[in-house]
Structures are given as structure tokens and as C-alpha cells.
């Protein structure tokens, strides 16, 4: 009997291990210059920006992740909001509790925080205001923070500062995107910063710190540089 119990106890962690191994993961990474993975505070020569570009801060919210088979939602990720922060390696990986046997061919998620969450008071974990992703002088989450420098920006110290947010009409910054994916356990999502900066007019867009027209425009543009790596 004791032997039986012992073997049973040994099996439990193995099963647990299986359960973890067989769940879908999302991996967010940033591409600069077609093949490099982003390192913060390092200067890159980009195709579009020969003079070089540096990223100092890059973090954004992903929320309401859903898996779809054609047009039907087949699974939703239990946790609603994730802060992806390139200073924190762990935050770039989202472990779901969804089995990799799930049949799906699309994923859909929001970049940013929905209006209901924005007006419902304080939350903890990824939404805790200590993450610096909440405006203190005009309530609302900052959906995306991207800061750094490049000589193409004719600002003080050539800085660019994008604090993109806003949940109230007419300046709603949250974007919803759907990406086609091949069913697999680890889904790699790349944010192509080369594309982001090459299609951005640095004379017009360089410093955005509040919900406004420019924040909405840059948020839309940001949502177009998410790709799935096959």
C-alpha cells in the first residue's frame, strides 16, 4: 500500500509537468534592423535610420487574448491584462492554461487597456500603478511607453517620447488586432521597430504625453508592426 501511495505521489508532479508542457505560450520579441533582437539602451544602425536609434524604455499592455478557429472564439486566456516590459525577460513570455491540442488558426488581442478597466479604480499585479503605466494628473492607463533617442528627432537631446493612451472618445488609443497563426505550442510574436520608425514622420511625431489625435494615430501605426513568426 505504502509503495502504491509513494508511486502515486511521484506521478502527480510528472502529470503536473505534462500539464505545463502542453499549454500554449506566447512569446513577445522586438526586431530591430531585420535580424537583431532589441537590447535596451544600445545604439542600432537601422535601414531607415542610418544615424542610429536607441530604445531606453519599451513596455506595453496586451489584454483579452483570444484564440480563434476561422471566425469562432475557441479559447480565452484566463488572465486579462499583461504588461510586456522589455526590461523584464519574464514579462515577455505569457504562459496560458490552454492545452496545445486546441485547434485554432488566429489569435486576437488588444494592445492597451479597455475603458471599463480604466474607470473601475485600482487593480494589482500587472495593473498596479507602481509600474509607471498610469497617468497621475489625468486618470487613465498608458497603453504603451516607448522612449529613446535618435538624431532624426530634432528635439532636446534628440529624444523621442511616446506615452500612448486615452480611453475616452474621441481619443481612444486601445487597438485590437487579429493575427493568423499556424497552430503550435509556442507562438512567437515580433514587433518590428524598423517598420515602426521607417513609417513614422519624426518631424510630426516625437513627443506624445497625453491622450490626443497624435496618440491615436501612433497607436494605430504601432498595431500594424506586430507579426507572427512562422
Amino acid at each position: 500500500m505504502a509503495k502504491f501511495l509513494l508511486s502515486f505521489l511521484l506521478i502527480i508532479p510528472i502529470f503536473n509537468g505534462f500539464a505545463q508542457d502542453h499549454s500554449i505560450r506566447l512569446n513577445f520579441n522586438t526586431l530591430v534592423n531585420s535580424n537583431d533582437t532589441l537590447e535596451l539602451k544600445k545604439k542600432y544602425q537601422l535601414e531607415s535610420i542610418q544615424d542610429g536609434l536607441q530604445v531606453d524604455i519599451f513596455k506595453f499592455y496586451i489584454s483579452d487574448i483570444k484564440f480563434l478557429l476561422d471566425e469562432t472564439i475557441v479559447a480565452s486566456v484566463h488572465k486579462k491584462h499583461f504588461l510586456i516590459n522589455f526590461e523584464d525577460v519574464n514579462s515577455k513570455r505569457i504562459k496560458t492554461k490552454i492545452s496545445d491540442t486546441l485547434k485554432f488558426n488566429k489569435i486576437k488581442f488588444n494592445i492597451g487597456i479597455d475603458s471599463t478597466t480604466n474607470i473601475s479604480g485600482v487593480y494589482g499585479q500587472d495593473l498596479d500603478p507602481t509600474h509607471g503605466m498610469y497617468w497621475t494628473w489625468n486618470s487613465g492607463y498608458i497603453n504603451c511607453k516607448l522612449e529613446g533617442s535618435s538624431k532624426v528627432f530634432k528635439t532636446r537631446k534628440n529624444r523621442y517620447t511616446f506615452h500612448l493612451g486615452g480611453y475616452k472618445s474621441p481619443f481612444i488609443s486601445m487597438q485590437t488586432i487579429t493575427l493568423e497563426v499556424i497552430q503550435r505550442k509556442e507562438i512567437k510574436i515580433l514587433i518590428d521597430l524598423d517598420d515602426f520608425f521607417s513609417d513614422l514622420d519624426p518631424t510630426k511625431y516625437h513627443t506624445i504625453l497625453s491622450p490626443n489625435k497624435k496618440a491615436v494615430a501612433v497607436s494605430k501605426h504601432f498595431s500594424t508592426v506586430f507579426y507572427v513568426v512562422e
Binding site: S120, D128, T130, T136, W137
Partner: protein, 340 residues
């Protein structure tokens, strides 16, 4: 059939009891003529521990960059948590802010905060003064770090939230709970509403004038509205504060400010967003003689308010019935002396 009826009566009575205990729990008892609170007390119910913890934080200057200014520096319990005799409040390094510190009470009924409504929820309100370089000049991350390294707070937070690390969420929730516990419901007006006191003849006349001229914005029984109006004040060309417009950037919101409560006026002077009037007489003179006719002036002010000298005295007599000394002298709300 009778049995069925009995069951129904029991069910109904149970519901009534639940509803009643929610409305008049020991921690949050308010009069039956008050509307339902805006703050979600069902998903975030008040607890004695959280209120006490929030009070300690409220009175603690560690919230500011140089440990010199607490919430209570500008929100004093003796003044209904306003800053009497300061038109504009001051922060770290003797810097002067741009607005008059509003009193704090009956906040569970308030849906937006600050004179321009910049803040959309009571939980987030403290972030503004903590971060403003003219007020506390710090940030919530730094405050949470200080609290985590503090001699006493980690234990207090653990006892309250059962979590080994202090988070921003916990700090803000505790502050909300203390502020919600600041109920001002014991004025003479309330006693009259409850039938245990009566207005004098003069107060009665004043009450009728109030209903005629003021109640459309400062609506009883709370005497404020969760709305913004342009009340015809000349622009202070030094401050150039355009109120709600600063937030929405919509021209129709220019010079609109939040409608403040008229409760506890004796303790909360000076008046208006920039504290420009230091007496109720001056406020009434403004409304009867000095209103600037802006395009977006509050509708109720467009036709003008005519008040004789006698009317003004009567109206002020009524307004003074909104003072709540039981609230301003309530020992429960005073500095709990954090450090033993």
C-alpha cells in the same frame, strides 16, 4: 398557501435585512434621504483595519519626496479636511500650487475628483498630489519602496492584506477606505431632515432662497453635483486656469469647474477653485452682481440672481446650517500618531 406566504415573508425580510445592514453598517452609516453611493462598496467593502491603515498613511509625510508633507498638511480634519486661510495650497520646498485644496467628506458619492475632474476614481486620486512637483514631488513607486523598508508598515500591511509585500494597489485602497469613512451627515440641516430639529424663521427663508437660486447645481442633500459649470468668474491672468478645458480641450468646457459641496462652509474658506473669495458675502456678491456673461455660463446663472441685502443674510443663515461640527471634531478622524 399560508406556508408559502410565510416563506415569502421570510425571504423578503432576509433581503431587507441584508440591504439594511449594507446601507447602515457600523463603518458606513448614512441617512436614508442620501442617494446610493457611487463608490463600489460591494466589491470593495470597508474594513476597520483598512480604514485605520489608510488613516496612518494619510497623516504620514513619508508620502512626499523630502518627508515633509502629508495629505493632512493641506487637508486638516479641523477644517473639514480643507486648507483654511490658504487660497492656494503649498507643497515641498515652499512651492505654491495652482488650486485651492477642496474639503474631503462624503467622497463615496463623488465620481470625479480635482477641480477639473482630471481623476476618474477615488482610488487614483492620491496619485496626483503624490506625483505633482508642486505638492509631494514623489511617485507611487518610491512611496511603496519607502513603506516596504519601513520599521512598522510591513507588519501593518501584512495584518491588513495578508500579503508579504506592500503594493501600490494596497496603499491606494487603504487611502480610499479612510477617505470614504469621512462622512459629514450631522449638520443642523440633517437634524431638520430627520425631524429632530427645526429651522429658525430666518433659516427657513434662506432655505427657500437656496432652493430657488442654488439647488439646481448644489443639489441637496449632498449639496454638490458630479458636474462642471462655468460660474462666471473672471480669469486670473496669472494662473490662466481654464478648468475642465485643461482635460478635455473642448471649447465648451472652458472655465468650467467641478461643482463643490456647500456643506461645512464655515470651515472651508476661502472659496472657489483659486480661493479668491474669503467670505460668503463676497461669494454672494459675485453671484448677484459680478457674474461674467460667458457663452457657456451655467444655465441657472444666465437670467441673473437678484438678492437683496436681507436675502443675503437669510441665505447665509441657511448655509450655516450645513456646518457639521460633529464631523470636524470627530476624534476618529484625527492623526493616529503612527510612531510609538
Amino acid at each position: 398557501m399560508i406556508n408559502k406566504l410565510k416563506v415569502m415573508i421570510i425571504v423578503i425580510m432576509t433581503f431587507c435585512c441584508v440591504g439594511f445592514s449594507y446601507l447602515s453598517s457600523e463603518l458606513f452609516e448614512y441617512p436614508s434621504y442620501f442617494p446610493k453611493p457611487v463608490y463600489d462598496l460591494v466589491s470593495k467593502p470597508l474594513s476597520k483595519e483598512k480604514i485605520e491603515l489608510g488613516k496612518k498613511i494619510f497623516y504620514d509625510p513619508l508620502l512626499s519626496a523630502d518627508n515633509s508633507i502629508s495629505c493632512a498638511s493641506c487637508h486638516s480634519s479641523y477644517n473639514a479636511f480643507a486648507h483654511t486661510d490658504h487660497d492656494l495650497s503649498h507643497g515641498i520646498n515652499d512651492q505654491i500650487g495652482t488650486r485651492n485644496a477642496p474639503p474631503l467628506f462624503n467622497l463615496a458619492w463623488q465620481s470625479s475628483f480635482m477641480w477639473d475632474g482630471a481623476i476618474n476614481h477615488l482610488d487614483f486620486q492620491p496619485l496626483a498630489p503624490i506625483s505633482s512637483p508642486l505638492e509631494m514631488g514623489s511617485n507611487i513607486g518610491a512611496v511603496v519602496n519607502k513603506l516596504n523598508q519601513h520599521q512598522y508598515y510591513p507588519k501593518l500591511f501584512y495584518e491588513t492584506f495578508k500579503d508579504s509585500v506592500i503594493t501600490g494597489e494596497q496603499v491606494l485602497l487603504a487611502l480610499s477606505q479612510f477617505q470614504i469613512s469621512l462622512l459629514s451627515i450631522d449638520s443642523k440641516y440633517d437634524a431638520v431632515r430627520q425631524g429632530v430639529d427645526v429651522f429658525s424663521e430666518q433659516e427657513k427663508k434662506g432655505y427657500h432662497l437656496f432652493l430657488q437660486h442654488c439647488n439646481s447645481c448644489h443639489r441637496e442633500p449632498l449639496f454638490f453635483e458630479n458636474k462642471y459649470e462655468n460660474n462666471g468668474l473672471k480669469v486670473d491672468t496669472f494662473l490662466n486656469d481654464f478648468g475642465r478645458w485643461n482635460i478635455t480641450k473642448v471649447s465648451r468646457d472652458s472655465l468650467k469647474f467641478k461643482i463643490p459641496s456647500l456643506r461645512n462652509l464655515s470651515y472651508t474658506k476661502p472659496y472657489m477653485h483659486d480661493g479668491r473669495f474669503n467670505s460668503l458675502n463676497k461669494v454672494l456678491n459675485h453671484y448677484s452682481n459680478e457674474v461674467v456673461l460667458y457663452n457657456n455660463l451655467a444655465p441657472s446663472l444666465k437670467k441673473g440672481i437678484t438678492l437683496s441685502a436681507e436675502d443675503k443674510v437669510d441665505l447665509i443663515a441657511f448655509l450655516l446650517t450645513l456646518n457639521d461640527q460633529k464631523f470636524t471634531l470627530n476624534k476618529k478622524h484625527k492623526n493616529p500618531n503612527i510612531y510609538p
